[in-house]
């Protein structure tokens, strides 16, 4: 069996939380947006491109989670064969994962609802496109906060650098 330091193992949990919960939120959000878009496209073929745009919006949370997870895996030594993390840095890594994971979950779900609603508004009234994008982009901020804190924790928690 491969010998893994406790800190590295904790970082692995952090990476799982980061992509797991962010991916969950992103998937739920994207599912909602796509369900609304399919309904819109069924009635109006011209909605395809706009439906894709709104369905793609909640993808970003999964990207943030994926990026943080990769960073944790690389800097904890699980990928790339570097030195393992000390235990305290491993505990910080769980905080890193929770930060982007839970922020991504809430943000993705919120964005999915807003995007689905926007698709419905646009298919009813074409002029709603710009306003729909603005409203759908609002829940992105929570994921950005989570991502920022995750990066700061990695920098000042002894994981990066």
């Amino acid at each position: 069996m491969v010998e893994i330091a406790l800190g590295t193992a904790l970082a692995a949990i952090g990476a799982g939380v980061a992509i797991g919960f962010a991916g969950l939120g992103s998937g739920l959000g994207q599912g909602m947006a796509a369900a609304g878009s399919v309904g819109a496209v069924a009635e109006d073929n011209d909605m395809f491109a706009r439906g894709i745009i709104f369905s793609a919006l909640p993808e970003t949370q999964a990207i943030y989670g994926f990026l943080v997870a990769i960073l944790l895996l690389v800097f904890s030594g699980l990928l790339g064969g570097g030195q393992g993390l000390p235990t305290e840095a491993g505990i910080v890594a769980i905080g890193v994962g929770a930060s982007i994971g839970f922020a991504g979950l809430g943000s993705g779900m919120g964005q999915g609802m807003a995007a689905a609603s926007s698709v419905g508004a646009i298919v009813e009234d074409n002029d709603m496109f710009a306003r729909g994008i603005i409203f759908s982009a609002l829940p992105e901020t929570q994921a950005i906060y989570g991502f920022l804190i995750a990066i700061l924790l990695m920098v000042f928690g002894g994981i990066l650098g």
């Binding site: 609304g36 069924a42 769980i94 689905a116 698709v119």
Partner: protein, 384 residues
């Protein structure tokens, strides 16, 4: 720091592996709680996302005020028909049927469409509403047989939609009203019709049969809404209940205009109304005249809508003003309900109600355009 953590872990009697297992378990438990809490609203709205988008797409294609004005400004019914042929929603049905029948077909298609796409939890009332076409067809068949129309003339009256259409079309050459009713004994309408048959045989008027069908429909519609356990079902119950109350009120007002008393009206009224319960309906049916019916509604949500129509009624003497006021109230109420749950039942109710109003308005315009020199301003007043 690492030593302190290691000491802390060992001081509580855990190995590093056990500590890891505890960490994983804690994350799993927290994760499970978060997922359960957050997935609840998702599960509530998810079934409505696709239907909402579809009905909103169709709602966006309904006529706006400018288009309705343009139709009203047309010179005759042919121009109305030509205008509608330029609208994709109506073009297909107008290719196959004359204007009035095309509008009936479009309405039936709308109810079928909504009944098909409504989520399972709220599907039943919309399925019942889609059966209105069958009821209208049965009424047409009964009317045709009462006045002795030929099989071809009878078929012309039927709307070519609904689950019973083929059966009803084959009854077009039935000899009499009684034959039609006997032939329908394997349908859900058999009991209602057979119960009213003796009254028809006494009076030789089909009104009791038509009223029995209406009462059956409204009763089934009201019972099709479950106990309103969530906001979507509460909104649906209000919508359906208001339709039942409005139908009861129209019947009572018209009966009072004809001077009928409680005993004559009560068999046709659905006692279990929504806001107008049995005792209130009894009061209204016992009112001496139309004005007293309206004043008897004081304290209910229908009072304002009908009170405003009293001056016009006093001027014209026609109860049609009350019927229009009730239709307008029902449409406005449905519009207010449609704004309550944008990711739920709201858009479905909004579309259905507005589409129904649009078709009613088109029928009003078509009827007015068939009459010579009917003023456009008068048509605008008649619209819902």
């Amino acid at each position: 720091m690492a030593d302190e953590i290691a000491t802390l872990i060992s001081s509580v009697g855990l190995t590093q592996e056990t500590f890891l297992v505890f960490c994983i378990l804690a994350i799993l438990i927290v994760g499970a709680v978060v997922v359960i809490i957050t997935s609840r609203p998702i599960l509530d709205i998810y079934p409505y996302l696709n239907p909402s988008a579809r009905v909103r797409a169709r709602k966006g294609r309904l006529f706006d005020e400018k288009q309705i004005s343009e139709i009203v400004e047309t010179n005759d019914v042919e121009e109305v028909e030509n205008y509608l042929k330029g609208i994709p929603e109506y073009a297909d049905v107008l290719d196959d049927y004359p204007l009035d029948k095309a509008l009936d077909v479009e309405r039936a298609n709308t109810y079928d469409f909504v009944a098909r796409l409504a989520p399972k939890d709220i599907k039943d009332p919309f399925v019942v509403m889609s059966k209105k076409t069958d009821i209208d067809n049965i009424k047409s068949l009964l009317t045709a047989k009462e006045v002795g129309l030929s099989a071809e003339e009878t078929k012309e009256l039927l709307i070519p939609c609904g689950s019973l259409y083929d059966d009803l079309e084959s009854l077009a050459d039935a000899e009499s009203v009684t034959d039609v009713i006997t032939s329908l004994d394997n349908t859900e309408y058999a009991t209602a019709l057979e119960d009213a048959l003796p009254q028809y045989e006494d009076t030789k008027m089909i009104l009791p049969l038509e009223s029995a069908l209406d009462k059956y429909y409204l009763g089934k519609l009201l019972r099709s809404t479950d106990v309103p356990s969530d906001e979507n079902k509460q909104i649906l119950y209000s919508y359906v209940g208001t339709q039942v109350d409005v139908a009861n009120l129209k019947l009572i007002i018209r009966a009072k205009e004809d001077g009928l008393d409680y005993d004559a009206i009560s068999p046709y009224i659905l006692e279990e109304g929504y806001q107008l319960r049995e005792w209130k309906l009894k009061d209204l049916m016992e009112s001496p005249d139309v004005t007293n019916v309206v004043s008897g509604l004081e304290g209910t949500k229908y009072a304002n809508a009908l009170s405003d129509a009293i001056p016009v009624y006093n001027e014209t003497g026609s109860v049609a003003v009350f019927e229009k006021a009730l239709d307008t109230y029902a449409a406005d109420y449905a519009k207010s309900l449609s704004a309550k749950k944008p990711l739920g039942i709201g858009p479905i109710i909004g579309y259905l109600s507005q589409k129904e109003s649009e078709i009613k308005n088109l029928k009003i315009i078509a009827r007015a355009k068939r009459e010579a020199d009917f003023p456009n301003s008068k048509i605008m007043e008649m619209l819902i």
